[in-house]
Symmetry: D2
Subunit: 373 residues, 4 copies
């Protein structure tokens, strides 16, 4: 099951240390302006850049094989691939028989028998190159048709919470230039956290690195300019599809929409978003506790999502594990090249998954023509 979406469909393929990773995007309507640069830009955002990320460096140069003619989509499937270059399968000899705690090594092996253990194979974060390729096409489609923006940022690193989040700063999201400024701030910060206590977070991570340990965090994603009426009631709810998309990203252990778990502590009279007509008789809400979705359908307000990201399972610290060759209990100290924290690198992937989900739902809800713009 490597395809996501029903009408706008992204099929991803590839392994960490195989020949290539990539994606086929099917169901993108014709006539959308699209170039390799549109995709490269997003792949570059996904690359490890700082001391907080893996030392593996890949050029990640995308090659589009199909579906584009004269710089516009044709309605035919778009295949984009990235050849793996910086491969070091040797690094993984140890994990061949010693599954890493917190990682999918063991269950893959039990389920599939033939497990490409090199760098985690199919279970590696590297396969999200395909997600990002698909997401880049979806983002272009959403931006071109409805000026939709998907903005992800870190709101928590380990136990350190950022003072910046949607509910503290709603006014920013109503102001186009403030949004642009926010995006710049996010992209120029190594943790993608637009916070005043960002230094404290960095120190927190550095300390964990020193101890050969790893750190998790929370990411918030806000969707702007989504029209009213996207999503279907019952089994194809906007937030249920977005939730599935985000839970599909490795390391995500929880997802919230709007006030999320906090809403369970509120009274109905606090939680309900009351409505009014403004002077031009437009329907408005006094608040956005729902996070832009009611009954599975978008309300026209910003959609607000949050995901919990567990600490990277690959750590240098000595851990107990089993040895499938000797059938004895054993220890592992993971070498290889790993991210001590993946939170900032999850953001472009999460945005990609959100974009793919929205592209699919907007076609299915009749907002974007399925064949031709």
């Amino acid at each position: 099951m490597n395809t996501f979406g029903d009408m706008f469909r992204v099929t991803v393929f590839g392994e960490s240390h195989g020949k290539a990773v990539g994606a086929v995007i099917d169901g993108c309507p014709a006539n959308l302006p699209l170039t390799e640069e549109d995709i490269q830009k997003e792949l570059d955002r996904r690359k490890p850049k700082s001391i907080f990320s893996t030392p593996r460096r890949e050029e990640d140069k995308v090659e589009i094989l199909s579906g584009i003619f004269e710089n516009k989509t044709t309605g035919a499937p778009i295949c984009g691939i990235v050849y793996n270059k910086n491969i070091r399968p040797k690094d993984y000899e140890e994990i061949k028989y010693k599954p890493r705690p917190g990682h999918a090594d063991l269950v893959y092996r039990l389920k599939y028998k033939n497990y490409d253990y090199r760098g985690g194979g199919r279970a590696s974060g590297r396969v999200t190159v395909g997600h990002v390729i698909g997401g880049a096409v979806a983002k272009k489609l959403l931006s071109y048709t409805y000026n939709i923006k998907i903005i992800g940022y870190t709101v928590k690193i380990g136990k350190i919470e950022s003072e910046f989040n949607y509910y503290n700063n709603q006014e920013i999201f109503n102001n186009e230039s403030a949004v642009e400024e926010l995006i710049n701030k996010i992209e120029n910060n190594p943790l993608r956290c637009p916070s005043i206590n960002e230094k404290e977070m960095e120190e927190y991570i550095l300390k964990a690195i020193e101890e050969k340990d790893s750190v998790g965090g929370v990411v918030e994603i806000v969707i702007l300019n989504l029209p009213v009426g996207v999503g279907n009631p019952i089994f194809n709810k906007l937030h249920a599809e977005l939730g599935r998309a985000l839970l599909s990203i490795n390391a995500v252990k929880g997802v919230e929409v709007g006030r999320g778990f906090k809403s369970s502590e509120m009274f109905g009279s606090e939680m309900n978003d009351e409505m009014y007509f403004d002077d031009e008789k437009n329907i408005k809400f006094y608040s956005n506790n729902s996070g832009g979705v009611l009954g599975g359908i978008s309300t026209g307000q910003p959609v607000v999502l949050r995901i919990a990201i567990k600490p990277t399972p690959s750590i240098g610290k000595r851990q107990r594990t089993i040895n499938l060759k000797t059938l004895e209990n054993d220890y592992i100290e993971i070498k290889g090249r790993h991210d001590p924290i993946i939170v900032p690198r999850v953001i472009p992937v999460a945005e990609a998954m959100v974009a793919i989900t929205l592209a699919d739902l907007m076609i299915k809800s009749g907002f974007i023509h399925p064949c031709c713009l």
Copy 2:
């Protein structure tokens, strides 16, 4: 999009004040013993029973129209329906033009133009009769083939947390008779909360009722006896599908697996579940922080999920809203028959959605034969 599942598929239909509600279950393998009683039992669990739930009382008698022969499934689709009897469309004249805050009235109307507003129509909790019918078949299938148990219970009401939850009481879930005792305790409690501070919760709700307000809460769901290897990596992850299923239930605003949001605060060395061989060389884990799933695939440990349920949006308290007839701002004090808290009634529905998801995934993962037991 009223169908859930790919191989085990449940299609639900019906409105709150229409003729009937029900479901068609397609893809249930032949030869499963199944009677109307199996389904009735679950529908009875869903019924409002206490002072904490709506005064609308329905017999909810299920009628199976197809797919069963000599008390066993035939592989043909199973249609189960429940005729609506206790209908009072009059109660809803006011909301015809005044959408209820926090409810889907407004977005349904904007999306579909022709909105059956009576009792919320399709957006009513009443349609979960169909979910429960589908879930009852799924539960029977899971129980018959693998003795799988799905146990939901309340862990929080408003701001009051129960001291009982999976991580505080893991030993209970390893002991078959303790599990039976737990289930009895849950089912005999009006809030489905096996907690010592359950009285405090009741008072909390009664106070809200007095103030014509409503209350939310958190439900935990534990899946026992799920074998290793259920779920697919990448886009059909066990917990992503379960998350989608649970987010499909009205009022659910967040979902967690395992340590959930708490995992974002942990270090890798705390979060990772280390492994060992026991004396019989079975693979075991020292902990279950992952909540029974790694890389989207079940580990064989209990699966642990939690959902956040917002307070019921329908409250008697005066709220601001708009009047779509007069096009003026207006007020609403909702009458009709409503649950001041839906948390305990969500539990059978949540279990049903989990069961449907698991039945589908176990067929797709090759654990249950798709055609015939």
Copy 3:
């Protein structure tokens, strides 16, 4: 797999001698005027009427359980059911152990173990009540939005060919009143054959009845007013989807589009439909050998399909079979109530399958809004 369609989906259920047969239609956009009469009309066309059909007489009164509000669709799933009344399971005691040659009895039993043999159970033509309910909704949608007409008629009974068919009478299909006249002629003929040699056909069948035998035939279906651009290239071709829909009807053993098998005998220069601009610069074709579809996409010309229907397998003549109880070779002389020819009764079912397929494709191709008209 009892659901047909992706965006406009029909799920059918029920057995020949079970409680009820029916269908759930999901994905029909809101605001379509629809009443029980729209469906009843098509069910009445499906009923056995003449001496050429089964003596089993059912009222076939449809009851809509959901999805309609104030005589229009709401976007919610529409469930329509027909209770079975004229049931005589006794008639089928013999086939309990003696599978009928040419029928699905044996393979159902081998595949599903628990086989509802009464009247063929799920394999009975009776289940097409569900197809026709779904088709009636689809027809209404197609007619309401694009005035699309789907016209089926018999062109061959056994070895006797009708002189009437699309390629002999193309001019009729370009003339609205001639089309209405044709439809009347078809509906008033017991064989649904608008032919001068229709009497010869009747005698052919009567002779077969006398010999306790059965007869097959060929049906042609013409679709009018389908706009250019319906269908997707590669794997969702208009004629491939229509072909699958028609091959899903029991007894259909072949399907053709346009010139069909005859095209294999033609030269390219004969087969190709040349184009021209008419005086208003509209694009026109000199011929319609393609049958209204090129590269899987509709051309705007009438779509022409033909299906081969085998003789009814249930015959009174003595046939060799096996006895699954005695495990001996045996004979069977089928009693029960059967159609000596199903060709005319297949027509409303074939039209229904065509309509469902078109409704789905037109939504997927962006011609009909998926949510709301």
Copy 4:
């Protein structure tokens, strides 16, 4: 809609004169031995070879990018690509504005606006490279698990019928060495026709070539060793899915199963396949008129299919068409490199589509484990 299959899924991509063509195969169970040679072998069968096919010569060297580890599948998606090399877009300048009669040029342009006209772009037979890659994996899976063989051959060229076909030569298909001999004969004949009048056919084609015209034909496909019980009743019938798969191939205008259109001329007593127990109490049939399928489910007998292939639309003869630039009526004499007959080259593609369909149905029917062999 460039994906075929539900559990075994093939997604194809690429254009005639784009960078590459290829396929992603998802849902192939792990542990299947598979190498590039397995795929190359089938691609080589698809290549033009004789004077009866296009002079465009491509190496068609496949490169597997993912999903294989230590020469076996891992359960991860398999991406195979073929770079286009022998590209001459110049040849197609004329058709930029003059759509070719009988070809999809016009409808693509109307549907998608941005049409890659070079060599027919996405509508070219070249994209079937992807089909064949997918089919090669499916064939290997079917052969490895059940020794299933799919054998296609020409039974008619234009008006010249071969005396060889399944119903004339049933005994051959029951004899393993005779089958091997037959396959050799087919593969060594430029028309893939194991017939004594094959020379007559060649002359027929040469004459058409001389007249700058093209020729069609009929292909028969026989499936051996398919077990009883493959396929689902109602909407996922074995022959309906196979029919759709075959109608998805460009130029196919009709499909038959078993006696096909001939069955409509038979009496029930002739058509029905009677059954008996052989000496070992195995269930046998006296005939195979059904073509190996009853009620949509395989009977265990050979499955027999036939497809009608229209003459290649691209011909050198002068034809009338429209000019979309001048908006005048015009003429076209197609240059470029084209097959005067595609019948023999359709065969590997048809076998591929059959294989993909069977792989999918056998997983869905529980014959092949969905995850791991």
